[in-house]
Each structure stands twice: as C-alpha cells, then as structure tokens.
Amino acid sequence: MFPFSFEWIWDMGHMVFHGGLWYALTIIGLGMTYCVIKAAVDSSKGKGSHHH
C-alpha cells in the first residue's frame, strides 16, 4: 500500500492501482480539509449565526 511496505515494487501495476487510490483519497481529503477549515474560519467571523 505504501512505498515503504516490504511488498512494494515500483512497477506499472502498483503505480496505476495505488496511484489511482491515493489520487482519489487526496482529492477527498483536501476537499474536506478545505471545507472544515473554511467553516471554522467563517464561524469565527460570525457567519451563519443569523440565518434563523
């Protein structure tokens, strides 16, 4: 799963399979991190507290 794992080989199969997985997980992770941090910043500025 990781290049430091003893089974890891730098071949096409590993790079394509794991590259695809980490590509997707990176987008998901970065996207959610952005949303959470921005929500915290917005909340600290008082946004969203008067919508009701």
């Binding site: 997985l21 987008i27 921005k38 929500a39």
Partner: protein, 441 residues
C-alpha cells in the same frame, strides 16, 4: 415529541405510528444481525457456498445493489457536470439511496470475507493483478464520497443547521460538491466496470468470457453502462414507493420524467450493446471455445432460454422503449412497470454473470452445479434491505430530503386558495400522479 427535529413546512405522522410501522422491519434487521453473528462466530460453514460456489448469493446482492446504487453517481454526474439543474430536486434522495446501497455492499463483503478483522489485507497486501482489488479500492473511496454527499443533508436538519459551524460546513461542501461528484463518477466508472470485467476475463469459463478492447473485456463497459442506465430507474422506483407509503407527492413530475427519459435512452443504448455482445458471444466467442449456445441453457432444472429472453428482452428492451417514448413515459402505470422491469433486469443480469457462470459445466464430464442459499445467507442479504428501509424512514422524517415536498404538500392552504399541487394536477388532467392527495393538516 420530535416535532422540533422535523423539516419546516412539512407534516409527519405521530412518533408512535412511525415506530410501529418500523417494527416488522426492525425484526428482520435483528434476524439478519443474528445470522451475521453466526457467520462471524461459527464461520462460513453457515452458508451453502462450496468449492463450486466461492461467489454466491452475497456477491450477487453486492453486484446488484452496486448497480442499483449507480443512480447516485449518475445523477450527480448529470447535475454537477452536465448541468441538469432540475435534478437538484431528487439528488438528495439519489445520494441517500446510493449511500445505503454502497453501505450494504460493504456490509455484505464484511460478512462474506469470513474474517472481517482481516478486511484491511486487501489494501495493505494488494494484489495489483486482480480487478477485485480495484473494486475494493474504488468501492471504499466512493463510499467516502457518498458520505461526503450525505453529510450536508444530515447537517441541514433543522436543529443541527442552527449551529453556525455546521451551517457553514454545509454551505462550503455544497460549493465544491462538483469536485466530489466528479471524483465519484471517476471511481464509479472503474469499479462498476471492473465488477463486469471479472466475469469477462474468465477464459476458463466460456459462459462469462468475452472479447476484449485492449485489456478490458466487453463486460467491463456493459456493467458501467448498465449501472448508469438502471441506477436512476431504482431511484425513481424508490421515490415512487416512498410517495405511495407517505401518501404524498414528493417530487414534481417534470423531474421524474427527465430522469426517466435519460435513463430510458441509456437503457436503450445499453440494450443495443448488450444484444450485439450476446450475439457475437453466441456465434463467435463461445464456439471458438468449443461450446454452442444450447450448452448454456439446456440440460438443467433452472437455467433455460427463458432467462436470456427475460433479461435482455422483457426486462431490457421493453422498459427501455417504455421510457424513451413520451406518451408511455408519462403514463403512471407504464412508468411503474418500466422501472420495476428495469430493476429486475439489471439484478437478473448480475445473477447471470455471477451464479449462472458458476453453474455451467466447463468440462464434458462435469454436470450442472446448482445452488440454493442457506437461511443465514438469505437473512444476511435481507439485513441491508431492512437497514435501508430504516435509514430512508429516518432521513425522510428528520431531513429535508425532498426540497419540493413543502410546496407540493402545503400544510395550511389559505381558505379559497388552491394549493400548488392541485393547480398542477388540474392543469394536467392526465398527469400520472393525479391520484395522490396533498397532505392534510
């Protein structure tokens, strides 16, 4: 008692009635959990799987719910990437159904692997030569995407939305949802395809084996195409069932018809491709392996030509044509018929590609091997169905799943003023949903 948790402007039944209605479903859920624990504690000897059937009822259920849950990725693709904005009125429900389907698939896999504590092996010790590794990767990652798409709906609960952080988080997630939807479409394309690819690369089993385009067998493309085609059918079917159970109209007809039309054209093109694939397989691929078509459909008690006719014709071409033509698509009964046949058709296709593949003899001295599931397999397969019904019920009760519900079902229409849903029904006397009544206060 729980009125404060319900969405504004809609009416729900009393909590006792809600709980009473769910009681039979909870009993099925408990039965499934008992069977699941038996499988985990005693092992896979609780099933009727054997050396001939390493894949059985669970894998069929897995493939079927993944195909039926395809409505989530395809609806998201249509709304966020193609720009079909009308689908915003059903996308929440499509996501919910997708979330339930994929959660169910993962749960079934957790039972099927026998030792769920070793479930992480497929990631850590990945076999990069297996299509199923790609399926495991994409399935898991796409489930994360579905969680991300479902979370804003949960946070839009009336009470949670009062918390500024949750409100802002929901807003931010909606803003970049197109990125998540695109990621979901990417992941779905590959895992739906690879599930089909598994049967298509079995060169030792001519019933499943297909010709390839580069490294991908035809079944790779057929599975992806069929999930995109029939997934929305399932979304429409569950929406219609929810409307029937609640006695309310929840989504406007134009939204349903748009999704049905797109689904119909997808099903039609899929049926053309599937028919061409079947003919080529029957006259070229299988004979090249030493088989004729009758070898796959005779000399056994279950699998006859009827299954081919039912899958490709009655549950393939027929619903496709019903949804393609405006007149039949906008007829309430025919719409019901089309989506039910479509759902049966794709489920039957997965059954054929998982179980009939294993039943067909591959050597002259081998006979057909038929299989029936144990009660534990049946119970654990019904478990996610029960769980899905419960989650739909709670989501409908407490979350704004259907944005048009309040408009279509006004609680207190002013005296002398006609409700919008009545106006719509009155203006289209042949409207398929004309018999549904707005909720009464």
């Amino acid at each position: 008692m729980d009125t404060a948790l319900m969405p504004e402007g809609v009416k729900r039944c009393p909590i006792w009635k809600f709980m009473a209605g769910l009681t039979p479903v909870v009993l099925v859920l408990l039965w499934g959990i008992y069977a699941m624990l038996l499988c985990w504690l005693k092992g896979l000897n609780q099933t009727n799987m054997n050396n001939a059937y390493g894949f059985a009822l669970w894998i069929w259920a897995d493939l079927a719910v993944i195909a039926l849950g395809g409505g989530a990725f395809f609806s998201g693709f249509l709304k966020y990437l193609v720009g079909k904005d009308e689908l915003k009125n059903i996308i929440n429900f499509a996501v919910l159904i997708g979330f339930i389907c994929y959660r169910s698939a993962l749960l079934i896999l957790a039972i099927d692997i026998g030792q769920p504590l070793r479930g992480w092996f497929i990631f850590w010790h990945a076999n990069v030569h297996s299509m199923l590794t790609e399926v495991a990767f994409c399935l898991t990652a796409y489930f994360f995407v579905l969680c991300i798409e479902y979370i804003p709906l949960v946070l839009e609960n009336r009470q949670l939305d009062r918390v500024p952080f949750f409100h802002n988080l929901t807003h931010n997630m909606h803003e970049i949802m197109a990125i998540f939807a695109a990621t979901g479409a990417f992941l779905s394309f590959f895992h739906q395809g690879s599930l089909g690819g598994v049967a298509g690369v079995l060169f030792g089993r001519p019933f499943g084996f297909r010709e390839h385009i580069l490294i991908w067998p035809f079944t790779f493309f057929l599975f992806t195409w069929s999930a995109a085609a029939y997934g929305p059918c399932f979304t429409i079917l569950i929406t219609k069932i929810t409307e029937a159970v609640t006695g309310k109209k929840l989504v406007k007809d134009n939204v349903i018809w748009l999704l049905a039309k797109i689904s119909g054209w997808m099903m039609l093109t899929y049926s053309i491709a599937k028919t061409a694939d079947t003919i080529y397989w029957a006259v070229v691929t299988a004979p090249a392996k030493g088989f004729v078509l009758s070898d796959f459909y005779t000399n056994n008690a279950l699998y006859g030509y009827w299954i081919l006719v039912l899958e490709v014709g009655i549950c393939g071409w027929l619903p496709a044509l019903l949804l393609v033509f405006k007149k039949t698509r906008e007829n309430r009964k025919l719409l019901w018929l089309a989506v039910i046949l479509g759902v049966i058709g794709v489920s039957l296709n997965r059954w054929v590609m998982v179980l009939q593949v294993l039943a067909v003899p591959v050597m002259p001295f081998i006979k057909w091997i038929l299989y029936y599931p144990s009660w534990q397999e049946v119970a654990t397969t019904l478990l996610p169905v029960a769980y899905g019904i419960i989650l739909v019920a709670f989501s409908y009760r407490y979350l704004p799943v259907f944005p048009q519900e309040a408009e279509l079902n006004p609680i207190d229409p002013p005296v002398g003023e006609v409700a919008p849903s009545e106006l719509e029904t009155a203006s289209t006397p042949d409207a398929p949903e004309g018999d549904l009544q707005p909720a009464q206060a």
